[in-house]
């Protein structure tokens, strides 16, 4: 249906490379984000490989363990890995790329509410990213991505620049979120009620609420840190009667919801994939939609579980411990609904589906270890060990990155009008999935045995597991390289994609592949829910 006869689409309608940098079209802006975020991912990934390489062997055995010059360099690489992956890859990742591209399409809109602001958000992110990367050539930061005071007040001269960069990237995140909220509220096609919206859109919408409500507090926290360093205002400095624990409160008031900014969109992607590749109406649509909002709401109440050993009061610790377990409820609702959707579905084990199933498996481990860590007594033991490192990588990489990959392959035909090679895509999944578990599962054991995180060296007894973990990181690398190859091959020599290769039901599949500039030939009118398979 809906074929545009002239052969014009959003890719070829405006000629020239420069037109991409001034285009207000949400799909083109999504591609801008795609290219830049993938570049950041490459940089952050290389940092991760360096870290793992350093930890391949303890430094005591021989020079073989000494990849990075010394502990200082290790701390810096660690900081940049964290900061780049959090602020420049995972937070903008799904919302700014897939969200930008598909949210308007899924609700039958011609664009986001504020196209100019949308383009501005990308430039703002680029400005922040440039500043962040410039610090690397100035004096490198070794605070970790959390910038905890009082250490961040005293170390490295370019903390201010890095913090300003994070502030600017936060602004970009706010503007994107604001744009999406208004788009969802105001630009839905006729008949597209809130409860007819695809679950991916619901997830991006919930994420947008978090972006708008949580990020400003990060903004003021970072501004105060800048003030602290330049004018010594003393609010977070114990020397002047300030309270470094308050910094952590303020920081995690944002950064815990930020964790859900990272995972909620991934859950949205998985909802789409599971229903599409089971050819079955999603089970519990309303429950999944509400649980996205539920997770967003609960996320504001649980930040203190990052601070069980920070010196916050026991009472606060106990309250946070209880509240944290609440997160398990809406999350489990989603999990069980996905499983119920699979039940008796016509499951098709294509690459996107494998990534979605991988997500279920890895996210379950990440989630359940999260509940373990919510128990104060256990956390006091596991805090700052590799157990925590493994836990959040299972959620962020095992969860979010798996979903990003699955989402890319799922929507690749729609975005570029070409098909990708299924075999190499599945090969990519095999390496990433296995490599991921080889890398991070040993870290649970290392953490349980007491290996602390953020150190560039360790005692001999941890050597075997660390070797396995490092080798796993090579498998992941191979997996991503195959994935990159698949994408490039698909772009250059993929077969022409039909409008709806997967037989999906949501609106973005009703327009041409790739979509035309204004998304739809005729403004769509919606008469049914998003997943009416059978």
């Amino acid at each position: 249906m809906g074929h545009h006869s002239s052969g014009k689409n959003y890719i070829n309608e405006e000629p020239g490379l420069l037109s991409w940098f001034t285009s207000l079209d949400h799909k083109r802006i999504a591609i801008l984000y795609f290219v830049s975020v993938m570049t950041f991912f490459l940089v952050g990934g290389i940092m991760a490989l360096l870290l793992r390489l350093e930890l391949f062997a303890p430094n005591t055995t021989a020079n073989v363990g000494q990849v990075l010059k010394n502990g200082d360099v290790y701390n810096q690489v660690l900081t940049y890995h964290g900061a780049i992956m959090v602020f420049m890859v995972i937070i903008p990742g799904i919302p700014a790329i897939l969200g930008n591209f598909f949210l308007p399409l899924q609700i039958g809109a011609k664009d986001v509410a504020f196209p100019r602001l949308n383009l501005a958000s990308w430039y703002v992110l680029m400005l922040g990213a440039t500043l962040a990367i410039l610090t690397f050539f100035n004096s490198k930061i070794d605070t970790g991505w959390t910038f905890y005071t009082p250490y961040s007040i005293r170390t490295g001269s370019s903390v201010v620049m890095m913090v300003v960069a994070a502030f600017i990237m936060g602004m970009s995140s706010i503007l994107t979120g604001l744009n999406f909220i208004v788009t969802v509220h105001k630009l839905r096609a006729p008949g597209m009620s809130m409860f007819r919206m695809p679950l991916f859109t619901w997830a991006i919408y919930s994420t947008a609420i978090l972006q708008v409500l949580a990020t400003p507090v990060l903004g003021i926290t970072l501004l105060l840190l800048v003030m602290e360093r330049t004018f010594g205002v003393g609010i977070f400095d114990p020397k002047l009667g300030g309270d470094p624990v308050l910094f952590q409160h303020f920081f995690w008031f944002y950064s815990h919801p930020a964790v859900y900014i990272m995972i909620l969109p991934a859950m949205g992607v998985v909802s789409e994939l599971i229903t599409t590749y089971s050819k079955k109406t999603i089970f519990g649509y309303t429950a999944i939609a509400y649980s996205s909002i539920g997770i967003a709401a609960v996320s504001f109440f649980v930040w203190g579980h990052h601070m069980f050993v920070s010196g916050q009061s026991e009472v606060a610790g106990i309250i946070f411990s209880f509240l944290t377990m609440l997160v398990g409820v809406p999350t489990a609702i989603k999990m069980f609904n996905w499983l119920a959707t699979l039940y008796k579905g016509s499951i098709q084990f294509s690459a996107p589906m494998l990534f979605a199933l991988g997500f279920l498996f890895l996210f379950a481990i990440g989630g359940v270890t999260g509940i373990m860590l919510a128990v104060t007594a256990i956390d006091v033991h596991f805090h700052d060990t590799y157990f925590v490192v493994a836990h959040f990588h299972y959620v962020m990489v095992g969860g979010t990155l798996m979903a990003i990959m699955g989402g890319f392959f799922h929507w690749f035909p729609k975005m570029f009008g070409k098909m990708y090679n299924e075999t190499t895509a599945i090969a990519s999944w095999v390496f990433i999935f296995i490599g991921f578990n080889v890398t991070f599962f040993p870290q649970f054991i290392l953490g349980a045995k007491g290996m602390p995180r953020r150190y560039f060296d360790y005692v001999l007894e941890y050597e075997q597991l660390n070797k396995i973990s490092t080798m796993g990181s090579w498998l992941i690398t191979i997996g991503f390289l195959i994935g990159l190859y698949t994408i490039i091959r698909g772009l250059t020599s993929g077969a022409k994609a039909p409008d709806n290769p997967w037989g999906a039901k949501t609106l973005e599949w009703q327009t041409s592949s790739p979509p035309i500039m204004h998304n739809f030939d005729h403004d769509p009118v919606v008469t049914a829910g998003p997943y009416e398979y059978k």
Binding site: H185, F300, F308, S313, I319
Partner: protein, 106 residues
């Protein structure tokens, strides 16, 4: 004449603006009067000052910012900011209160 639709674009009459401004000036003077005589009710002084400030804030939000005539959606949106703040304050206060004033540190 040009205003046929009353739902979206409500025009507040000029004299309402002037009255509101008058009220705000009066409340500001009241704040100062309360401040000058604060020796008489020391413990209450901050509460009085903030009650007056809250009244002023209401006038500004309701009339100058037109929230009174805006959509319920926009009122809810604006309110979420204050709810978020209340939450930030409440939980930080629980920590500070039990940690510093009751001396309970993990």
């Amino acid at each position: 004449m040009a205003h046929h639709d009353s739902d979206a674009e409500h025009v507040t009459p000029l004299n309402v603006y002037l009255k509101i401004a008058g009220g705000l000036f009066a409340l500001t003077f009241l704040t100062i009067i309360a401040h000058v005589f604060k020796q008489h009710y020391l413990g209450l002084a901050p509460y009085i000052a903030f009650a007056i400030a809250a009244a002023k804030a209401y006038l500004v939000m309701a009339y100058f910012m037109h929230l009174k005539y805006d959509t319920a959606g926009n009122r809810i949106i604006f309110a979420t900011g204050f709810i978020g703040l209340a939450l930030l304050f409440a939980i930080c206060a629980i920590d500070i209160y039990t940690r510093v004033f009751q001396g309970s540190i993990l």
